[in-house]
């Protein structure tokens, strides 16, 4: 035990001295097929990454529900828009999904469609908090979007969440309102219980009572006075129960039940199917940490299109030779999720309208391993998915889904 205490003291010192904090919330334990083939977040934007306690900031973005939804994940029939944080270090003020209020869950989101979210959040606990948007799917749990550090400054005790009720009552702080009332009642009940218990515990208890009972002298153990005391306590309890109820009902006549039920929301308008992508082959080179795709891309639109980005599981592989793609990276997007080496293409020339072109795409980075997205060998469903972002000369962006089986290789391909 002494050893443990010493160790504890040692790590406390290390803690105070300042050590790096975890930057993930367990999403790396989720299987790659789950993270690359369900919810693809894009255009995620944090309006601020430095806020004060009680200062608001917005977390906005979009997500695509992939069409090749894996069997292991329940379909998005019941969905809740949320955020992931290390405890309630932030307060949630308002949330919207495609402009609809999102305090409650949504029913029947559609695969292959896009949705836009907006969350108004407020700094609550001082310190650095890693905040992610998340989409929870009933039966499968939260699917996590890209996380960013948000620094909250100020004093914890200065946080308050005022709210006004429909009955006109101005509440200073949602964290404390009603608490004294509830605790007061609990203490009152505990006082009655303590009185009753001490009434008995002060007497001889276990062995003497058992012995007396064995001798058939129950009359010594429960007297008429005890029964009378019981009746008095019962009367007090009944007065407290029903008197308290009547009083509470009179004091709060306009109370409402908890609100339940599912909302419905239409997806964002479908963009015309400008691009079709067929994955001819996909390999993941284990020693090279590289995903290599042979694709056949057909441009069905009227503008030539250049491949600008491959994004999957929040990781972005950018075509660094395409300025418009680089300009599309929000400054607030977490840098650890942008692959440094970018996206390599066998051909950089745009795909002309009506053209079908074979393009080899190579996404190489250690981030595959860091994010634990390489367990294709051990998956029961060795498929991958992702979004390919293509850009027209006028800056218009086309988002296309791609995916299919993936084969791990353990030697570098020639």
């Amino acid at each position: 035990m002494l050893l443990k205490l010493i160790k504890f003291a040692a790590v406390c010192v290390a803690f105070i001295a300042g050590v790096s904090h975890a930057a993930a919330h367990g999403e790396r334990a989720q299987e790659p097929y789950l993270r690359t083939r369900t919810v693809q977040f894009y255009d995620v934007h944090f309006s601020k990454t430095d806020v004060k306690v009680n200062e608001r900031f917005e977390l906005t973005g979009k997500f695509r529900l992939m069409q090749d939804w894996p069997d292991a994940v329940t379909p998005p029939d019941i969905v809740f828009l949320s955020s992931i944080s290390p405890g309630p270090t932030i307060a949630r003020v308002e949330t919207y999904l495609n402009g609809e209020p999102a305090r409650q869950s949504f029913a029947g989101l559609e695969l292959g469609r896009d949705y836009e979210f907006r969350m108004v959040l407020e700094g609550r606990t001082p310190g650095s908090s890693h905040i992610h948007p998340s989409i929870s799917i009933k039966g499968s749990g939260p699917l996590v979007g890209p996380g960013q550090w948000v620094n909250i400054s100020g004093e914890a005790h200065s946080f308050a969440f005022p709210i006004k009720t429909m009955t006109g009552l101005q509440i200073e702080d949602l964290q404390t309102f009603g608490l004294a009332h509830a605790v007061g009642w609990h203490l009152a009940w505990l006082a009655v219980a303590a009185a009753w218990l001490s009434f008995w515990l002060a007497r001889p208890l276990i062995l003497p009572r058992w012995l007396v009972l064995q001798k058939g002298r129950e009359d010594l153990l429960i007297s008429l006075r005890d029964t009378g005391a019981g009746i008095i306590v019962a009367a007090i309890v009944l007065v407290m129960v029903f008197g308290g109820y009547v009083r509470a009902s009179a004091e709060y006549p306009y109370n409402v039940p908890l609100q339940s039920g599912l909302n419905r929301v239409a997806p964002l308008p479908a963009s015309p199917a400008y691009v079709e992508i067929k994955v001819i082959s996909a390999t993941y080179d284990v020693p090279g940490r590289s995903m290599r795709l042979a694709t056949q891309i057909t441009n069905k639109g009227s503008e030539p299109l250049s491949i600008g980005e491959l994004t999957t599981a929040n990781i972005r592989f950018l075509n660094q030779s395409l300025p418009v793609a680089m300009a599309d990276v929000d400054p607030s997007y977490p840098r650890d999720l942008i692959a440094r080496t970018g996206l390599k293409l066998s051909s950089d020339t745009p795909i002309n309208p009506g053209e079908t072109k074979e393009v080899r795409v190579e996404a190489t980075d250690a981030v595959w391993e860091l994010e634990r997205l390489v367990s294709f060998l051990t998956d029961v469903d060795s498929k991958f998915g992702g979004l390919l972002l293509l850009y027209a000369p006028n800056g218009e962006r086309v988002i296309a889904e791609m995916g299919g089986p993936i084969v791990p290789v353990f030697t570098e391909l020639k």
Partner: protein, 293 residues
């Protein structure tokens, strides 16, 4: 606690000095003295019996604080843990049905063996104290939820009524029927008194919400999405919309049976049963098989 089994004898005084029983025991009440006297315990024996009482109370408080809290957490915990789970349909039903189990068994153990009408109150008291300890240390200090989000329920009103029924009627069957029903039935009104402020209506993003809904929404639980709440889905405005009272009555009905069942379980658990031990094991301690069997 001495693993060697031997106490260090520190006192050589004749502990059974010739003193009157009244002076030697700690009970000043005449009736308590009578109990000691009829039990046949000598003054020094009564003193050690009191020490035994203290040990039993310590064990009862701690083990049932642990066991009942674990039981309630894992059977109906979510309704108790969060204020925005405390609905009118399930909360007044599932909570008392789960909360009555241990108190009923404790009633049987304390009443049948010791004629102590405190079992239910003991169970509900240690549960409430253990719950608040957890709310303070874990909900507030560790994960940072405001106290309002984790206000627990209490079963003390029902437990007290159940003990009072027992002391008046002195019968397990009638305690089940009357006390058990009361336990389930008063859960709703006795907790509503404490939690009524949390059901005040607010308008949020153009929709009605209760303050409880707002508390759950404002202070996010990352792995507890809104849809996980198993709360009221009403279709019919029966009994003038008094759905809570219907739930309370239903809870009382189930509690009748639950009480009787757990009373019997308490009786079963207090059996002083010894099974035959293996001769090999006994021989390690020098007991010859012929003597023991």
């Amino acid at each position: 606690m001495n693993p060697s089994g031997e106490g260090r004898v520190t006192s050589t005084a004749d502990i059974d000095a010739a003193a009157s029983p009244r002076e030697n025991t700690r009970f000043k009440d005449k009736k308590d003295e009578t109990v000691i006297s009829v039990s046949g315990l000598t003054p020094s024996a009564a003193r050690y019996s009191r020490l035994f009482d203290v040990l039993v109370v310590a064990a009862v408080v701690t083990i049932f604080a642990g066991a009942i809290h674990l039981h309630v957490m894992l059977t109906v915990g979510d309704w108790d843990m969060y204020v925005d789970w405390k609905d009118r349909q399930y909360w007044p039903l599932v909570m008392p049905v789960s909360m009555i189990m241990f108190p009923a068994a404790l009633q049987a153990i304390f009443w049948v063996n010791f004629r102590l009408p405190i079992g239910a109150t003991v169970g509900a008291t240690v549960l409430l104290i253990a719950t608040w300890i957890g709310r303070y240390a874990n909900w507030w200090i560790w994960t940072g939820f405001p106290f309002t989000e984790g206000v627990p329920s209490q079963a003390l009103a029902g437990a007290l009524l159940m003990d009072m029924t027992l002391i008046v009627l002195r019968n397990s069957l009638f305690t089940s029927i009357i006390g058990g029903f009361a336990f389930g039935f008063v859960f709703w009104p006795s907790n509503y008194s404490a939690l009524a402020p949390f059901y005040l209506p607010v308008e949020h993003q153009g929709m009605v919400a209760s303050l409880a809904d707002m508390i759950g929404y404002t202070f996010p639980r990352s792995n507890m999405p809104e849809y996980l709440r198993i709360i009221e889905r009403g279709t019919l405005r029966t009994f003038g919309s008094s759905v809570s009272w219907v739930s309370a009555a239903f809870a009382g009905f189930i509690c009748i049976f639950m009480h009787q069942l757990w009373w019997r379980l308490g009786l079963f658990a207090s059996q002083a049963t010894f099974l035959k031990n293996s001769d090999v094991v006994k021989s390690f301690m020098g007991i010859k098989s012929s003597v023991a069997s």
